[in-house]
C-alpha cells in the first residue's frame, strides 16, 4: 500500500492523513467550545437562581478561554482561566452565599425594559453589531512578529511599563477599598 495514501481509515496513520484528521478535530473542538460559550451565556443571563447563573458564567468563560487559544494566544487563555474562572466566579459565588437569600425573592417584571422589551433591545443591538461586522471591510496588515509570550513580557516592561504600574496601583486601591466598604458597619 502506498504510505502517503490518505484515503480510508488507514490514512489516519500517515502523516498527511493525520494532519487532515487533526484539522477536522480542531474544527470540531472549536464548534463544541462555541456552543459551550453561547449556552453558558444563555444560562448566565436567563436562569432564575443566581447560583446557576454563576455556573453558566463559568462555563461561558471556559469557552472564551478556549476561543483565546484558537486565536493564537495560549498565555491569555491561561490568564482567563486563572482570573475569571478561578477568581471572579468564586468571588461572585461567595457574594451570593453572603448576600443573596433566595427565599424572599420577588417575582414578576422588574421595570419597563424587562421581558419582551429587554429582548428587543438586546436583539437590536446584536443584529446591528453583526451587520456592521459582516459588512465592513477590515484592512489586513502583515504581521511583524507572532505575538510570543516573551515579546508580551518585554513590551509590558518597556513600552507599557507606566500602564502596568498604574494597573497595579488601581488593583491595590480596589482591594483595600473593597475591604473597607465591606467591613464598614460590621462591628455593631
Amino acid at each position: 500500500m502506498n504510505p502517503t495514501d490518505a484515503s480510508g481509515i488507514l490514512g489516519f496513520f500517515t502523516a498527511e492523513g493525520f494532519a487532515g484528521y487533526a484539522d477536522g478535530l480542531a474544527g470540531l473542538v472549536f464548534l463544541i467550545m462555541l456552543a459551550a460559550t453561547i449556552i453558558g451565556g444563555i444560562i448566565a443571563c436567563n436562569s432564575e437562581r443566581l447560583v446557576r447563573a454563576v455556573a453558566g458564567l463559568a462555563l461561558c468563560l471556559v469557552g472564551v478561554a478556549a476561543i483565546y487559544y484558537y486565536l493564537n494566544s495560549p498565555f491569555v487563555a491561561m490568564m482567563q482561566m486563572l482570573i475569571y474562572v478561578g477568581a471572579v466566579c468564586i468571588t461572585i459565588a461567595f457574594a451570593i452565599m453572603l448576600a443573596a437569600p433566595e427565599e424572599n425573592k420577588k417575582h414578576g417584571p422588574a421595570g419597563a425594559l424587562s421581558g419582551p422589551f429587554g429582548l428587543i433591545t438586546a436583539g437590536l443591538a446584536t443584529i446591528g453589531m453583526i451587520g456592521l461586522a459582516v459588512n465592513t471591510k477590515f484592512a489586513v496588515h502583515t504581521k511583524v512578529n507572532m505575538g510570543e509570550v516573551k515579546l508580551i513580557g518585554a513590551e509590558l516592561l518597556t513600552s507599557y511599563s507606566m500602564v502596568f504600574e498604574l494597573i497595579s496601583i488601581v488593583l491595590l486601591i480596589a482591594i483595600i477599598g473593597s475591604l473597607i466598604i465591606a467591613r464598614h458597619g460590621r462591628s455593631k
Binding site: 458564567l57 461561558c60 476561543i67 461567595f94 443573596a100 459582516v134 496588515h141 465591606a182 458597619g185
Partner: protein
Amino acid sequence: MSILNLHNSLNTYLILAAILFGMGIYGLVTRRTLVGMLIASELILAAASINFMAFNRFTAPDPTLGQIFTLFIMAIAAAEAAIGLSITIAVYRNYKSVDTEDVVDLKG
C-alpha cells in the same frame, strides 16, 4: 467554507462577540438583583475582549498589543468585580436585600 473551518474566519469571532454582548445587555436590563447585573456585565467585558483578540489575530500588525490590552481589561474587570461585590455586601447589610427596587432610595 466548511463548517469545520470556522475558526479561521474573523466574522465567526465578531458574531460570537456580538451575541455575547447582546446577552449581557439583556441580563443587565432584566435582572432584578445587583449580583445578577454584575454577572451580565462580566459577559459584556468578555465580548469586548473577544473583539480585541480577534482583530489582534487577523488584522493587527503587532499581535502582542491586543494580548496586552486584554490582560489590562482582565485586571480592570477583576477590580470592578471586587468593588461591586463589596458594595453589594454593604447594601445587603443595611437593607437586608440586594433587589434593585428595595435600594431605590439610594438614588440622589
